[in-house]
Amino acid sequence: MARTVWPDLAAQIPTGFSHGSTSIFAPAGTPAHSIFGLSMLVLGITLAIFLVVAGLFLYAVVRYRHRAEDANASREPSQIFGSNQIELSWTVIPILIVVLLFLATTRVIFMTQSIPKPASSLDINVVGHQFWWEYSYPKLGVVTANELHIPVSDPKKPTPSYLTMTSADTDHSFWVPRLAGKMDLIPNQINTMWMDPQQAGLYLGQCAQYCGVQHAKMLIRVYADSPADFAAWVAHQKQPAVESADPQAAAGRAIFQHNSCISCHTIAGTVATGRFGPDLTHVASRETIGSGAIPNNPANLRAFVDNPEHFKPGVLMPAMHMNDKDLDAITAYLASLK
């Protein structure tokens, strides 16, 4: 795979906010919406201040420039040392603006951080790891990694998702701009945030707190599913791993279980119960691997197991150094874990 990509330049120019957008100006959930509203107010006020003050500066600089052709060019202008009334006015007016902004801000802070959690909400535990996300749904008995599924929240019957977050190692930050502002994941500390996407779809984001070598490829994918789709997804995820009848996959399972794979990865229903790396019970049902780094297909799976450093230099998974036969078998096994 060529790692230097030259994408078509024209395709890079943003045309509206498409499906893959991470713009804060395309909010799709209540927290992001209320921030968007506040930010428009702030942008308006600061823009007005800028126009007035910059205009005055521009006027002063042009109007009071030194003109060599002036009759009095060599005389000093009259010296003015100050004026208490003027000082007072440009102290009081900014204070009034500050009070206005502060009140508007306080409202959004408390609306987002201090409203009671509705009974209909979905609880999700998020643990940040170097460099991937662990998601578990304690009431549903589901554990997954890197691709978060949440139900769409109907404003009339809201089902917001509440994330209870901590970190297993260094600091991380969960940021999906279209759904909500970011919240940090910090070891020894529990933080919470909530999201309520109103439209089904895929919402992208990534880790926003520098957490180590591969901070850049700790990507977030949030799938907002319709209630029916979400229920189906949960039902599927609760199943133990598929026992494929394919002999190559069975061979791969044996190799998996006889190697150090099991000390870091869990595959429900097998001896693999490691928790250091992502849960692989249904790895084949995900669209990406390496926390969103590359699309999930057998070729990428095989290359990733062979040498994860190729895609994510600095990743904590070691290169497995297997022969081709074993690699094929492992790939077949992992690809069977629908």
Binding site: T4, V5, L9, Q12, I13, G20, T22, S23, I35, L38, V42, L43, T46, V53, L56, F57, A60, Y64, R65, R67, E76, P77, Q79, I80, F81, G82, E87, T91, V98, L101, T105, T106, I109, T112, Q113, D169, T170, D171, W175, P177, G181, K182, D184, I186, P187, N188, Q189, L204, G205, Q206, Y210, C211, G212, V213, Q214, H215, A216, K217, L219, P313
Partner: protein
């Protein structure tokens, strides 16, 4: 010196330093290494800061090359992480602090009519220990891998959040070099700050009451006082980090119940006042330069002093606006929103007073003044984006994104660096005795201005489109590439402008026109001495009767002392 006209002793002395090729290089070197003269120490501070400015600038260029395309592999992730760590650490501790202390060292005694700093030997010690810190930081490229074959230069980010700095996540010695370098530079900063405060309070010439001090001296007094209460916490935190790394204590060890958030508090109790420690000297330069080139006294001297002291105090209560996303809770967030917004009021007062100083003046567009006017506009924008970031919910979106990077570069480059360039054009004649070329200076201004705006105006955009800072690469489908291309292209202009500036300094030092003692027709005491000033500054200690002693001298019919 068989001159026909009698040459005063001090002029003769300065002449020899410049025009005697017979002196051995070692003699000159010995002079500089052993000097306790505040002017030489100031120049050494400035010189070493300029070297590091170029080094850290090259690091920025390398990062911009890497980021100009998505999924680029110009540098490895490890190298990129080192680059932004070293760039930030260098620019704050080994460019910003020393260059501002350099100007302070040079100017404060001259402006208050003193012959040297209060503690000349402490001054030399502070300089050398800071310089050693910088060298130690860069020695990490050779010495840090240690036994573990771990990364060489520090790669924990300039605010080095725990627990990334713990031995388990950062093996080898790179973080130790970072800690030691900062610790040493901190000791040097505290020493120099102590010296500036003692000089200002104890060494003023007769008549120089506090209310008659040039604003530059006032601002250095505030900035240096801030150093005591801001840099010391960082020193304490670095001691804790060293104890953690070397003898296994648990201050920031999250495995043993230690807290990652405590480090954030300690770092930002330093980190935010540090921004003001850096910007106040830039304000100080503006307070001297804008009046002189507007040909008017500063408007609202007392309000300016009050605003500066106010900024100093308020800056100590705003640190947690760097921590709106760590889960402090709604109450704490609200408090820090208010404190942060309030600091914009005294800052605004300063801008308005500069506006009133320009108003009704006769503005001379020298290179120095052009940089100062650029500073005014850019600092206005930086302040307004700062207000946006003080809105905690807006910060939940924009914090740790490229918007923040754009904001603080607007402050540090658009504000501080522009004012530093302005100060160079203004005081270079005093320091060297030669004028900088105005023509090259104006080219420098326009090229740098274009580069600055290409880079940092457009850098706000990817932040709003969801691009976090400190990522070594990004996905192609996010629509960030076009913006990053523009940002990177601006870096080329900035590099070219800086090269032109360095060339201007070297060329002018040898070939520039002689400056004379007072090329700008200015009003403060440093312009009453020859350029460059003799070792003892003033043959006779002056005494003053107003804030603008040279105005009084040039306008005996209408001295300032009548109005103060």
């Amino acid at each position: 010196m068989a001159a026909d006209a009698p040459v005063p002793a001090e002029t003769a002395q300065t002449a020899t330093t410049h025009s005697a090729p017979r002196r051995l290089v070692l003699d000159i070197l010995n002079d500089w290494v052993t000097t306790v003269d505040h002017k030489k120490i100031g120049l050494m501070y400035i010189g070493y800061a300029l070297v590091f400015l170029v080094v850290a600038g090259i690091q920025a260029l390398l990062m911009r090359i890497q980021l100009s395309l998505p999924n680029n592999d110009f540098v490895s992730p490890q190298a990129f992480n080192s680059l932004f760590t070293m760039h930030g650490t260098t620019m704050v501790f080994f460019v910003g602090m020393p260059i501002l202390f350099g100007f302070g060292n040079y100017l404060v005694p001259l402006m208050i009519g003193a012959r040297d700093m209060a503690f000349p030997r402490l001054n030399a010690f502070s300089f050398w220990i800071s310089a050693f810190g910088g060298i130690l930081l860069y020695f990490s490229y050779f010495g840090a891998s240690g036994l573990y074959g771990a990364g060489s230069a520090p790669d924990v980010g300039w605010f080095a959040y725990a627990p990334l700095t713990a031995r388990v996540f950062s093996p080898g010695h790179s973080t130790d070099y970072w800690t030691l370098a900062i610790l040493l530079s901190g000791i040097g900063s505290i020493g120099t700050a102590l010296n500036i405060v003692a000089t200002t309070i104890c060494m003023r010439c007769p008549g120089m009451k506090l209310s008659r001090m040039p604003l530059l001296v006032w601002l250095y007094l505030v900035t240096s006082s801030l150093v005591f209460v801001a840099v010391s916490p960082l020193t304490a935190a670095q001691i804790m980090l060293m104890l953690d790394r070397y003898i296994g204590s648990h201050f920031f060890d999250t495995q043993a119940g230690g807290s990652a958030v405590l480090w954030m508090h300690f770092f930002w109790i330093f980190g935010h006042p540090e921004v003001y420690i850096l910007i106040l000297p830039a304000f100080a330069f503006a307070n001297e330069i804008i009046p002189v080139f507007s040909r008017k006294a500063i408007f609202g001297y007392a309000a300016m002093v009050a605003a500066s002291v106010g900024i100093g105090f308020i800056s100590l209560s705003v640190w947690a606006h760097h921590m709106f996303t760590v889960g402090l809770g709604a109450g704490a967030n609200t408090f820090f929103v208010l404190a942060t917004m309030i600091i914009s009021v005294p800052t605004g007062i300063k801008l308005f007073n500069w506006l009133a100083t320009l108003w009704g003046g006769k503005i001379h567009f020298t290179a120095s003044m052009m940089f100062a006017i650029g500073f005014l506009f850019q600092f206005l924008i930086a302040g307004l984006t700062g207000v946006m970031l003080s809105i905690a919910p807006f910060d939940w979106q924009l914090g740790n994104s490229y918007f923040v990077v754009a904001h603080f570069h607007y402050v540090l480059v658009g504000g501080i660096l522009f004012m530093i360039f302005s100060a160079f054009y203004y005081w270079f004649p005093k320091m060297s005795g030669k004028m900088l070329s105005e023509k090259l200076g104006k080219w420098h201004f326009w090229i740098f201005l274009i580069g600055f705006h290409l880079t940092f105006d457009f850098m706000h955009v990817p932040g709003m489109l969801g691009m976090p800072r400190r990522i070594y690469t990004y996905e192609a489908d996010r629509g960030w590439m076009i913006w990053n291309m523009i940002i990177s292209s601006g870096a080329i202009f900035q590099a070219a402008g800086t090269l032109l500036f360095v060339y201007n300094m070297i060329w002018s030092y040898f070939k520039g026109p002689v400056a004379g003692p007072d090329p700008w027709d200015a009003w403060t005491l440093e312009w009453s001495t020859p350029s460059p000033p003799p070792a003892y500054n003033f043959a006779e200690i002056p005494s003053v009767a107003s804030r603008r002693p040279l105005w009084d001298l040039k306008h005996p019919e209408d001295p300032d002392s009548n109005y103060e």
